[in-house]
Every structure is written in C-alpha cells, then in structure tokens.
C-alpha cells in the first residue's frame, strides 16, 4: 500500500475549508430493466438475463420503462426538485467492454428532476440543508471480473469475464450542488446525507437501496480552499464508496490528504480515487483532465419524456411521509431521546419496530426486543436486523405472551432464540420447549411447600419478620420449576404461607 502523507484532521480544518459534491447512484427496484423486458433479479447465472436490447445487438432498440420514469419523478419530488415538462435521454459515448453499445443511455442537459434540496439531521439534532443539483435517469453497465491478477483489477489479469445481467438496470443518479459551510462536520454531513437519502429511497419504495449489494453507490468529490476564500480548489473524486461509514471515512481521509498536499506547497491532481475499506485510505485512479469528451447528444432512438402535470401532481399527492419527519413523529410517540432515536435508525430498526407495534405490541416492548436481544444476535451473526429469520408479527406475539404473564423475560429470550433457530413460531417454540410459566396454583403451591420444608431455617427467619430472606426461597422454587414460574407470584405465595405481610 502506498504511504500517503496526511496532516491531522484538526490541523487540516485549522487552515482549510472543505467543499464536497456527492453523486449517488441508486439502482431502481423495477421488475424489468430500463429499456427492455429482462428481469432485474440479482445473483442469477451470468448473462442469463439478457436480450438483444441490453446486449446492444445490431438493430435492437430501447423502449423506456414507465415505472423507471415514475420512480425518478417520485425521487425528484421527494427531493423538492422541479420536474421537467419535457426532457430527453442522451448518449454518453465512451468505450468499455462491459458496456454493450459503447455508449451509456443517460441524460445530459435535460435531467428529469433538478433544483431541489434534502434536509438532513446530524447526530446532535442540527438540521443541515443539502442542495440538490439534479436527479437523472440512466442505465447500469455490465460487470467485468478480471481473472488471474493479484488485485482483481485489470492490471496483471490474464483475462476478463463479462456478465451483462446488470447491463440496462435502471439507475437514478442524484447529484448535489457543492456542499459548503459544513466545515469540520463535512464528513458527518456526507454520511448523514447518504443515510437520509437511503431512508428516503426506501420510504418511496423505489429501491431497497442496499449499499452492500451495490444498489446504492456513492462518489465523494472533495476539494479544499484556504479558510476565508471563495474559489473552489481542485477536487478529487473518490468512486464507489459503498457504506455509510466509508462515506464519512473517505471524506475525512481526503480532507487530511488534500491538506497535506496543499500545505506542503503541492497541487491536487484532478483524478478519481479508489477507497479501501480495510484502512479507510484512498489511492489514485484515473487522471481526469477535462479532456475526457463523452460526445453527448440526444438519444435518437427514444422519444422525449414529457410527464403530464396531472400525473406529476398525482405522484406528489401519493408521496409517503418523509423519513426525517416520520422519525420526529415516532420519537415523540415513543418518548425516546434524540440519541436513542439515532441508534434505532443506525440499527435499521425503525420500520421493524413500527411493524411490531402495528402487530399489537407496546412500543417499549418492541424497542426492547429489537434493540436488545435481536440487535445482539444480528451483530453476532453479521446480519442486518431485517435479515434475521423472525418477523415483527412474531416479536409482537412474544411481547403479548410476556404481557399476559405466560412468559417472563428469561423465557421470552429462549422463545426468541428458538424462533431464530428455525424451531417455528413463538407458540410452537413455547410448546416444544415447554417454556410456559408455571401458573398452575396447585403445582406451584406444592413447590413452595417443598421449598419451605427443605429450608426450615430460612422460613423461620421470614416468619420472624426478615422478609428479605424470601429471595432465597423464591430462588429455590424457580430452580425447582426450571425457571417456568412467575417469580412475583412465588414470592406472594411464600409470604402468604408463612403468614407475613409483603
């Protein structure tokens, strides 16, 4: 790994002011591709989801996916953008083997949505407004796998494999205006923006926006200018930063790297950078010297897109509650702190908790399970919460059993463990494992009698008024019933039988 000179983050910020531009690509969750009828399902056999259109065979022609346009408009509206009354696709001409036509069908100077903003909330509750330049429609490329080299990059590879299943999957590219004024919080703003955008995309139902699956990819453009100056410095473009944490780290690293170059009298090269997850560093990619000429021109194979105003307004009326406002409402309804709400968001638990309360659970119970036992399990098994094999309905059922006294917390944890282990739904697990709280008064009474008889000395102490000693007897009863008794009821019975007021 190349050693890159860095200055400390604090030193960098003492002299320089970061300006960022974020470009986010979102793969839409349409059933079919942007310009043909091929399926968009991921992880299928290579090249099994292709046709003459997405392979760019001679003679094939594209036809626009209406749902793709609708999704783009929804995103534009949710980002407070203006929606074009008339716009065209454009061809972006460049050569790469995983791009079947050697041009990408995209949009150039006529994006479907433009001039918007997204308010994002920082950790401390402060709202930062990120201005949106545009959101435009385009198609994804195929995927190259370079084989035989050490790095997986094309350098040193013996050959490359091309898979065009991804070619033609609809993408929306969302580009911010230069983000200024964030200062030291620039990396945090970048992360919060991408996080908020992801929540928004998910809320709109246009994509699952899973960054780990490449459904949402972020490029971080960053430049520094000396504090107190206006002119932007030369930017670097860190490509394909694919997690929230990485977005923050990439911005932070680039601030430190730029500052080191600039403060030693050097100049920043306008280039793409590769981000490295393992140490959070970036390394140089392609030089971008503005000589790159994509020879854009309007795509003659597609008719212009002219969304009717009535349709746009209909889509606007159908927009869901925006995630930040929804979180604010939920925070109040649940009575949790800003910090707790942030943790719930970071854990990806908001929707799960809502679904659990919708299924009848009290919100504190729902939060407790998702943010406790289940979060721990997800963490340990390296899964997302929503990937756990338990549904909000099942969690709500566990909560219900606890409320009704059929389970105590300890037993409930075992039930959840059983559900996660695939033993069935909560009632089945309770049944199979025999986890019901012993509420049969007869059986319980016998157990209490036995415990009193076996611990005569302790029983005497209790009779003598030392009520605190009852704990030892409760423990004995719980042990005898393998934890399936309601501890509070056991205590009541003990005191009752010994003639002591609790």
């Amino acid at each position: 790994m190349t050693v890159t000179d860095l200055v400390s983050y604090e030193d960098a910020l003492a002299s320089y002011d970061p300006v960022m531009g974020l470009e986010v690509h979102v793969e839409l969750g349409t059933k079919t591709k942007m310009f043909c009828g091929c399926s968009t399902e991921l992880k299928q056999d290579a090249n099994s989801q292709t046709c003459p259109v997405c392979l760019g065979l001679p003679g094939a022609l594209p036809v626009v996916n209406e749902i793709g346009v609708e999704s783009a408009i929804k995103i534009g509206l949710a980002l407070n953008c203006e929606i074009a009354e008339w716009c065209r696709f454009a061809r972006k001409n460049y050569f790469y083997p995983d791009m079947p036509k050697n041009f990408q069908t995209s949009q150039y100077d006529e994006p479907i949505a433009y001039n918007g903003y997204l308010d994002v909330q920082l950790e401390d509750g402060e709202i930062f407004r990120v201005q949106i330049e545009r959101a435009h429609m385009e198609e994804d490329t195929g995927k190259s796998t370079h084989v035989g080299g050490a790095t997986g990059r094309i350098q040193g590879a013996s050959h490359s494999l091309l898979d065009y299943n991804r070619a033609g999957i609809p993408l929306i590219e969302i580009v911010t205006k230069p983000i200024e004024g964030a200062g030291a919080r620039a990396p945090e703003v970048a992360k919060a923006y991408v996080a908020e955008l992801r929540e928004l995309i998910k809320a709109l139902g246009v994509s699952e926006a899973r960054m780990e699956m490449g459904q949402m990819r972020c490029d971080v453009n960053l430049s520094l200018r000396p504090n107190g100056t206006e002119t932007f410095g030369t930017r670097s473009e860190t490509k394909n930063v694919n997690s929230l944490r990485s977005v923050e780290r990439a911005a932070r690293f680039e601030i430190q790297r730029h500052a080191a170059v600039l403060s030693s009298g050097g100049t920043i090269v306008q280039e793409t950078r590769h981000f490295h997850e393992e140490d959070g560093s970036t390394t140089a990619g392609r030089i971008k010297d503005n000589a790159e000429d994509y020879r854009y021109f309007p795509e003659p194979d597609l008719v212009p897109v002219a969304p009717a105003r009535e349709w746009v307004e209909e889509l606007r009326r159908g927009l869901p509650e925006l995630p930040r406002l929804r979180r604010k409402r939920l925070k109040e309804e649940w009575g949790v702190s800003e910090h707790d709400m942030q943790s719930i968001l970071n854990a990806g638990a908001v929707d799960l908790i809502v679904a659990t309360t919708d299924a009848g659970a009290p919100s504190d119970q729902a939060r407790k399970w998702w943010m406790g036992e289940l979060a721990r399990n997800a963490n340990e098994t390296g899964r997302g919460l929503d990937a756990l094999p338990i549904t909000p309905v099942q969690v709500a059922r566990v909560a219900e059993l606890v409320t009704s006294g059929d389970l105590n917390d300890k037993l409930a944890r075992q039930v959840i463990e059983g559900v996660l282990a695939g033993e069935g739904d909560p009632d089945t697990v309770v049944e199979k494992r025999g986890l019901k709280v012993v509420s049969d008064e007869g059986a319980l009474s016998t157990a209490v009698d036995e415990a009193i008889a076996a611990n005569a000395a302790i029983a005497d102490k209790i009779r003598g008024g030392k009520v605190a000693a009852a704990g030892a007897l409760v423990g004995a009863v719980m042990k005898a019933t393998r934890g399936q008794a309601d501890a509070a009821r056991v205590r009541e019975l003990i005191l009752e039988k010994l003639g002591v007021e609790g």
């Binding site: 065979l57 001679p58 003679g59 083997p97 020879r295 021109f297």
Partner: protein, 500 residues
Amino acid sequence: MTDNSTIIKLTAAEIAAKIASGELTAVQVTEAHLARIDAVDEKVHAFLHVDREGALAQARAVDAKKAAGEKLGPLAGVPLALKDIFTTQDMPTTVGSKILEGWIPPYDATLTRKLKAADVVILGKTNMDEFAMGSSTENSAYGPTGNPWDLTRIPGGSGGGSSAALASYEAPLAIGTDTGGSIRQPAAVTGTVGVKPTYGGVSRYGMVAFSSSLDQGGPCARTVLDAALLHEVIAGHDPMDSTSIDAPVPPVVEAALGGSVEGMRVGVVKQFAGEGYQAGVVQRFNESVELLKSLGATVVELDCPSFDLALSAYYLIAPSECSSNLARFDAMRYGLRVGDDGTRSAEDVTALTREAGFGDEVKRRVILGTYALSSGYYDAYYGSAQKVRTLITQDFEKAFEKVDVIVSPTTPTTAFPIGERADDPMAMYLADLCTIPTNLAGNSAMSLPCGLAPEDGLPVGLQIIAPAMKDDRLYKVGAAVEAAFVEKWGHPLLEEAPSL
C-alpha cells in the same frame, strides 16, 4: 401451365391472385425465381445470400395452407428480396460489411417477422453499401452490384441489391431502407418503384442502425400497387420501437387502387433544379409535370430556401449518429475479431478489427461524426445541423399549406458507370440532393419511373413527396402517373430493359 419466364414477369398482385385461385402454387413461383437467380445473379450480384431451402419451405407452407382451405393473405406465397440490413434468425446479416461477416442474429427484425407472418417467401438477402452508406452499392464489402439496364453501371445505393433484384426479375418485391435516398435513388436508376414511408411508419426494430433519426425501411416493387400491398404488410406501430408511430397505417392500398390527381395541387420546388441536373432527367421531369396538369392537377411553384442546406446538414447529422451507432462493433461479442492472439489488449483487438472490418466510407463518416460531436465543435456542427433540420421541416410545412404533394426528379442523373464517382465522395453525395430533405423532415416520398433519358437510354425517376402520415397520397398520385405513362408507352418501362 405457366412457364418460368412468364411467372417472373408477373406482378406481386398477379402472383398472389394466381396462387389464391390455384392457377399457380407458391412452390412453382419460388422455384421460378430461384431459377432466375441461378441464371442471372452471377452477372447482377443482387444477392449476398440466397436461402433456397428456407424459401421453398415457406412456399410449401403456403401451399399447405391453401390445400387446407385456410384464407391466404394478400401477399401469401409472393417471393421477396430482403435488404441485408434486417436481422434474420435463419440467415446471415452482414449489412454489407466485413465486420459482421457470417453473423447470424439470434432474433428476427419486426419487419422480418411481419413478412413471415404474412406468408411472404423471403428468397434471400440483398447487397448494399456497407452500413447503408453510399449511393452506388460500390461500398459493399462483398463487391458491387450491376444495374440490369447496363451491368457496367451502378444500380443506385445503398439498396442497389434490392433494386437490381426487381429490375432483373429475380424477385417481384424487395425491401429497402432509406436514410438519405437509399430506396428512392436505386428505384429511380433501375426503373422500379420505391417508397420511403413516413419516419416511424415502419418499425426499425432489427434494422441495423446507420442514422437512427433518419433511417426508415420501406417497400420496393415494380408497380405502385405492389409497393402499396407490401407497405401495408410491413407498416404499423411496434411497441419494440419507441419512435414508431402509434396510429393507423394510411390507406395505401385503397389509394393505389384509386389513382387520381384530379383537382390536386402539385408543388414544384425551385431549389430542385439547376447545375448538376442531367438534361434528359430535366426533360423527363418537365414532361411529368405536364402530364400531371393534363390529368387535372394544378401546378404551384414553391420556394424552399433551406433545402439548399439539406446536404450539409445531412452530412453532419448522419455521420454523428453513425459514429455512436457503430461504436458497438468492438469485436467483443459478435462478428469479426482480428488479432486476438492472447497477447493483445481488448483495445488493440478492437482497433485491429475495425481497421480490417470497416471500409473507407464507413471510416470516413465515423471520423466525421466523432469530430462533429466533439466538445467545442458540437454547437457549430451538430447543433447548427439540427437547426437547419428544423428550418427544412418548416419549409415543408409551409409548402404543404399550398400543395397536396411535391414532385421533383428523384436524383439529378441517370445511373453512372461503376467506378466513376468511387473516389469522389462529394460527387457521390450529390446523388441524394433531392431525396435528403424528406429524410430530415421525416415525411414520406416515392420514386417511380417517368421514362428514359434520351441521351443514354437509362431510366429516370419521378419523386413524389407527401406530408407525414399522408403516405396514401403518394400512391394515389403514383398510381395515376404510372397508369398514364404505361398507356403512353404501351407497356411498363422495364420492358425496354435489355434482356440479361
């Protein structure tokens, strides 16, 4: 029993009628044309590929339908020569280029599907200028095609194979594509009929693109009615082509059956005259205008000043689009691959393949178009050309307020000798002077024979231009003119061609 020499001279309408009545079988008709191809195509070289087995199988299927008492379509069993630019699952599709030599597409073009569905018998694929770039078919990577009127002359281009197949009686019907005149100019110089439908009238899906905003497939035939019958089969909205027009096909057959110019206003554009027009072409054109008057039309002179800029605009727009359309020929997925010896990079293999696989005219236009789209030049070249295109469209709109159709010579000269303009691109480009404005505006036009030029005895074409989606007017006027000429000559013009 009708003999082969009679069968091949029948029109498509006559063949269809005789098959429907049982007087001829589709197999007989197909065999007669295959025999004709065997006899003359070595000299003419209209075909790049003849699908003997496929054609006979299709013909047998038609005969079986007939025997089973099924209703036959209006062109069932009629043989057709398909320009080698439409994809065919069962035949190679080369577009006249080495870069696609031997490529058998995995899918049929919409037009191919429609022909098959109409029980038309596809005899094979016809020669053409490489990627439809040219006006003489000399740019084919597979050698030139001869004009059946004089085999030392060009049959027009890019669809010279299709026009020559018609004029040599190898097929009664053919398909062409017209980006700047590639249906009409070959029709004109071979004494046949060719129609460029309204842009969007015939699906482009499966038609290998040269210039997407100008390309339009269309019918070629020896009579106006035959062209109309074929037009009706291939036209109509296609959900696979977003530029295809979602509206009913204009009533072209009805129009061809009811030819008349009585009371029509016919425009003559003053820009379609002057230097470069052969005297015999001008003479036959003027006679055609007189004929139209005698048939009851009113002639109106029109001024369309922007037409003078059409050729310049065309040679920026078409190369620009082609530079992008042809980028996909990179040796990665199909077609020719040169120099892939395991040591070369993908880029080098692409470069070597293109060097070997593309001809000079294709390279010339790709380079021209790449330049015209470059940043810093886009506005001056591509941008200005698009403005001219708008002006031309407006000139047509104004003209069609005054007239129902416009007429002009189809091309300024008769067929020129093979080789004469091969090294002079500008001279070659001038062949499309009168046809290009229609492509830029997207409206419809036809070329049909209007006599032989006295000085060389070669056919002259009359062009009729109609507004967009008024293709039926072409046939109404064309049928009237054709009938009047045939009456005057005593026979169809093609009868005067020397026998091969």
